[in-house]
């Protein structure tokens, strides 16, 4: 299964991490992560542009199908390969943590709502914090942190997380009773925030959010992707308290 599946990008990119996480959750074993030399702007030149004319990562190939945009790729992976989660923690109740496709119109809609919230409210705010506080330290000549941008986005993310706290005090996952793409799409940036910036308290200080993050990051698939991200992110990690 999954022969000929390739992801072009770098695992440390949270958008690439979303795709990798979905592949891992779906139990796709033989995908290939093809590195892209971001420092040399390989993604802005041929032959990369012939696969993704917008010159961004990730790009995804499955046989003759080429896709881009991480959430579009992820939905395809989960639809095609992922009826059950191969790597979920087993629980006494058996199948509670399996990734499953929503089975009703209403469930699908609610799952979509929170994927949109991730895309349009969570990620825009958190990505600024991660860029200023972590990514810039990674890139030679990345420049100084802009604390005003950080502060503005910390405030925005706090407001978003207040809404998440309401949701997660009523539901174990954003998608509903079972984990879904709406939850998994948060992994990459949240991992960077918690591990590589001093703003992890945004998550840690909200009990519902903290518990949800604990469940997501404990998943074997998430740990595997974290290990891949660590290859690049380890130098940025905050010292443990």
């Amino acid at each position: 299964m999954g022969g000929g599946v390739k992801v072009y990008g770098v695992a440390a990119s949270p958008f690439v991490a979303t795709v990798l996480l979905c592949l891992e959750e779906a139990g796709v074993e033989d995908y290939e992560l093809v590195g892209v030399d971001m420092a040399a702007r390989e993604q802005r030149t041929q032959p990369y542009l012939s696969r993704n004319p917008f010159g961004k990562i990730p790009t995804f190939v499955d046989g003759e199908l080429t896709l881009f945009e991480s959430r579009a790729i992820s939905r395809y992976v989960l639809r095609k390969y992922g009826r059950t989660s191969a790597s979920s923690p087993t629980t006494a109740a058996g199948e509670e943590d399996l990734l499953r496709e929503p089975s009703t119109l209403e469930e699908s809609a609610v799952a979509d709502v929170w994927t949109e919230v991730e895309a349009h409210r969570y990620t825009p705010a958190i990505s600024h914090i991660v860029r200023e506080c972590a990514i810039k330290r990674l890139i030679p000549g990345g420049g100084e942190r802009d604390q005003a941008v950080v502060d503005e986005n910390v405030a925005k993310l706090g407001e978003v997380l207040d809404v998440y706290e309401q949701r997660l005090s009523r539901s174990p996952y954003l998608a509903g009773d079972s984990v879904g793409l709406a939850d998994l799409a948060h992994f990459g940036f949240t991992y960077c925030l918690v591990e590589c910036t001093e703003y992890g308290a945004l998550v840690e200080s909200r009990p519902g959010v903290r518990a949800w993050w604990g469940r997501i990051s404990a998943r074997p698939a998430a740990k595997k992707v974290a290990a891949m991200m660590n290859l690049v992110l380890n130098p940025l990690k905050m010292p443990s308290a």
Partner: protein
């Protein structure tokens, strides 16, 4: 069966996104205005529908939804027929292409185009804020690069996801409609396949009907 309810003014771009989908599937719906001047979007009643206090929100019986693309997909799934299938979720590859170009609209096309709509129309007409020409100029440069990619793509396909109209195309309607009311509408003339695609979208009865209630103020 009670008509579904969409909360927010029909002129608002994200409300229009939902309404065009309702029109395409021929569903019965009611538009319920939200009075921004009276801070109704921040009222407890509205926050139950949309905890971020924004529009649109949506109600179908007991189901409350927010986020225009999530609402739209619910509508397109619920009212799908053999003739009207704008998500193509029965076909892995087609559904993936619909998703790709829906994401491109959300994260690449719209971020380049919408600042021009805000600066040239919404800010001066509705907020009394003068046009920031620097923002307009920067956005036009970004938009040209995006339209180059669209031109190449639409020279090979009639619509974005393939040779069939889809949710991906319809997503482009609300903001592009208003863009055509700015002084920069002629930009599309430089991209003939994009222009032809846009004219196909504008010719659709659903779009014609909504456009009439979204008449953009002349720039």
């Amino acid at each position: 069966m009670a008509p579904v309810k969409v909360f927010g003014p029909a002129m608002s771009t994200n409300v229009a996104r939902v309404l065009v989908c309702l029109e395409e599937v021929g569903a019965e719906y009611e538009v319920v205005n939200i009075d921004f001047q009276a801070q109704e979007h921040k009222s407890p009643e509205h926050l139950v529908r949309n905890p971020f206090g924004q529009i649109p929100a949506f109600q179908d019986g007991d189901l409350l939804l927010f986020e225009s693309r999530a609402i739209s997909k619910y509508v397109l799934r619920k009212y799908k027929t053999d003739k009207v299938d704008l998500l193509r979720e029965g076909n892995l590859k087609e559904a993936a292409m619909v998703d790709v170009w829906t994401e491109v609209d959300a994260h690449t096309y719209n971020p380049a185009l919408s600042p021009i709509v805000y600066e040239c129309l919404i800010n001066p007409m509705m907020r009394g804020i003068p046009t920031n020409q620097k923002v307009v100029d920067e956005s036009l440069e970004k938009l040209k690069k995006v339209l180059e990619v669209y031109e190449a793509h639409l020279s090979k396909h009639k619509y974005l996801a393939g040779d069939f109209i889809s949710f991906a195309d319809l997503n482009h309607f609300p903001y592009t409609f208003y863009f055509m009311g700015t002084p920069h509408a002629a930009l599309f003339d430089s991209y003939p396949h994009v222009k032809a695609w846009w004219e196909r979208i504008m010719a659709r009865p659903s779009v014609q009907k909504l456009g009439a209630s979204m008449v953009p103020p002349k720039a």
